[in-house]
């Protein structure tokens, strides 16, 4: 049972991050009916760029890029906020540029779905490899900021970073739900997601909504990237590729284009993957190890597509 609780805690932590990434996919899909492949790269650029800023300011030392000296707690909190702000701002800038330079011309031409998908894939490859050339191809340490402490409750242990991630994600989700459901911009967003053409006719500035989505989605994605980098205390130019795909799968499991579905899908995927990865070696007597963990997401995707192709919260028949 202890192992089970431990796995559930780990699964929820991973699920939080998947949920945030899935949100980015779902929001763009809701508005533009396209999959923004490059979203995973924005997840990676957030921590990459914030580490770059920390390095440029001379605040980190050593191979692990730990914070220089023995900083006080308020300074650490400030640095953490700086990481989030800088990473999110940079990702939002890239996201906006991407929308302007690549997606808008395609949208204006009313290009086919596979054309915008190939373009998005090109953007993703470009960003990934640009990050490799600029920031280096090796895994780099990322400062953890918080001194890791472990708490044990009923045999399962969890770290304060995991608690921090949970609280952070909860606040973000509450804020986002307020933004989407209660504000003027949120109402426009929902209108465009429902019917782009008609909301344009009703006087909604569609391009502004799209720009809003391409600022908000990448900013959230980058913030989750910073959280991810803090938990695993490393950054890597390929880290966005795997998590990006998981986020996409989570979005489809929940019903793509659906904000609530993305969150639930993310949690489910995280739980399923960690539990599966944890129990598979035990159940098969060590024949199949945890390295098959990444296949779990794929198996789950296939099952969902066969049983309920519109996703858990999706509506049937939406083309």
């Amino acid at each position: 049972m202890d192992i089970f609780f431990q796995q559930v805690i780990n699964g929820i932590t991973v699920g939080c991050l998947y949920a945030l990434v899935a949100l980015g996919y779902s929001m763009v899909y809701g508005v533009l009916k396209m999959v923004n492949f490059a979203h995973g790269e924005l997840f990676m650029l957030g921590p990459m760029f914030s580490l770059f800023v920390l390095q440029a300011m001379g605040l980190v030392t050593g191979r692990l890029n730990s914070i220089t000296g023995n900083p006080s707690t308020p300074l650490l909190v400030g640095l953490m906020a700086l990481c989030f702000l800088v990473g999110s701002a940079f990702a939002a800038l890239i996201g906006l540029a991407m929308e302007r330079v690549v997606y808008r011309p395609l949208r204006n031409r009313n290009a086919a779905m596979e054309i915008s998908m190939i373009a998005a894939m090109g953007v993703s490859l470009f960003l990934q490899n640009a990050a490799m050339l600029v920031f280096g191809r090796l895994q780099k340490g990322y400062p953890t900021m918080i001194e890791t402490k472990f708490y044990t409750v009923g045999g399962a242990s969890f770290s304060n970073i995991q608690v921090f991630i949970l609280i952070f994600v909860a606040i973000l989700l509450i804020g986002l739900s307020y933004l989407v459901n209660k504000t003027y911009m949120g109402r426009n967003f929902r209108a465009v997601a429902l019917d782009r053409c008609a909301s344009g006719l009703m006087g909604v500035n569609v391009n502004a909504v799209v720009a809003f989505v391409f600022i908000l989605g990448p900013a959230i994605g980058a913030a989750s990237g910073v959280l991810y980098a803090m938990q695993y205390s490393q950054v890597y130019y390929l880290m966005g590729a795997v998590v990006g795909m998981k986020g996409w799968i989570a979005a489809i499991i929940g019903g793509i284009g659906n904000v609530k579905g993305a969150v639930v899908g993310g949690f489910l995927l995280g739980l399923f993957e960690v539990l599966g990865g944890g129990y598979l070696p035990l159940l098969t007597g060590g024949n199949l190890g945890a390295e098959y963990r990444n296949i779990f997401a794929f198996v789950m995707l296939i099952v969902v597509l066969l049983v309920r192709p519109q996703g858990l919260f999706g509506k049937r028949g939406i083309a």
Partner: protein, 354 residues
Amino acid sequence: MKTPGIRAKLQQGIDRLNAHPVGRYVIPAVAVLIAALVPTFIQSNYWIRVLDSALIYTMMALGLNVMLGYTGLLNLGYAAYFAIGAYMWAILGSPQYDIHWNFWVVFFLAGLAAGVAAYLLAIPGLGLKGDYLALVTIGFGESIRILANNMSLTNSAMGITQIDPMSFGPLKANTVQDYYYVLLAIIVIMMIVFKRMENSRIGNAWMAIREDEMAAESMGVDTRNLKLLSCFIAAIPAGMAGVMFAATQTYVSPVSFTFNESIMIVAMVIVGGRANVFGVVLGGMLLMVLPEPLRGSFFDSARILIYGLLLVLMMIFRPQGFWPRQYRGVKKLNGKKVGETIEAEPAAAGGVQS
């Protein structure tokens, strides 16, 4: 009224040449002859080896063209079918398990295995929308690589060595030139087959699905089964190319079947010209041969970056590719060039609602 410009005149000339027997038979025959004489001009085994792998990738590009070019379905895990073929020959033709089957039996079996895998995968993938298929295929590509990396059957990350070369009965292929001639013959046969398929009822139905799936369906095209057929046929060349790859390299390991390989094949089809076999062959040869002199320089590490940029630029400025297909009859539809793929205005995006 504008007089026809130089472009239109050139187009007229091309159209006339395409219709004439010289354009239809003589020019392609001369091109094949020149290609067959290449090993006598180029003495260096290194360059022939480069051409061999370029031809193997071109085989795959021709296969992917069936999905991406004709039917408009994006497959981002195409290297998985390549891996299936390569591992089939590695297992059935090497001292690893001391099995030595006939090369050509495995060649066709691998094509069949890859096709069946693609068919089964497409059933959930085609469920609702085309973009689901892209995701399912990425997942499949990754899963096959992870499996190959961990299973004892494929000797995990070490890979399988000392794979048998290609053979015809007692004759064994020893030189890179032997492979070049065989691959060239395969490519020519494939081009003829796909060219004929392009103009068949099935080919027309595929292109109708690509241009407007809803309209195609209302005209009586069985879209679901034709899409599945397109996935099946598209994967066959990849399985065969995998067998040729294993035989030329005599060594396979999971690193040869990454996501980047899948992307490269997509780029070949896109850059060359979707739905045109000549364009696809051009794209395949260009993307494989051009980066070769840059090996080891800065551009080598930036290769994928350049591919990415190339894909984006192509999609924005020339989505039909450098050598696009010439369409008979209708050139424009809804004021747009056919082949640039007009998006069917879905009801959800404010189209006609009954």
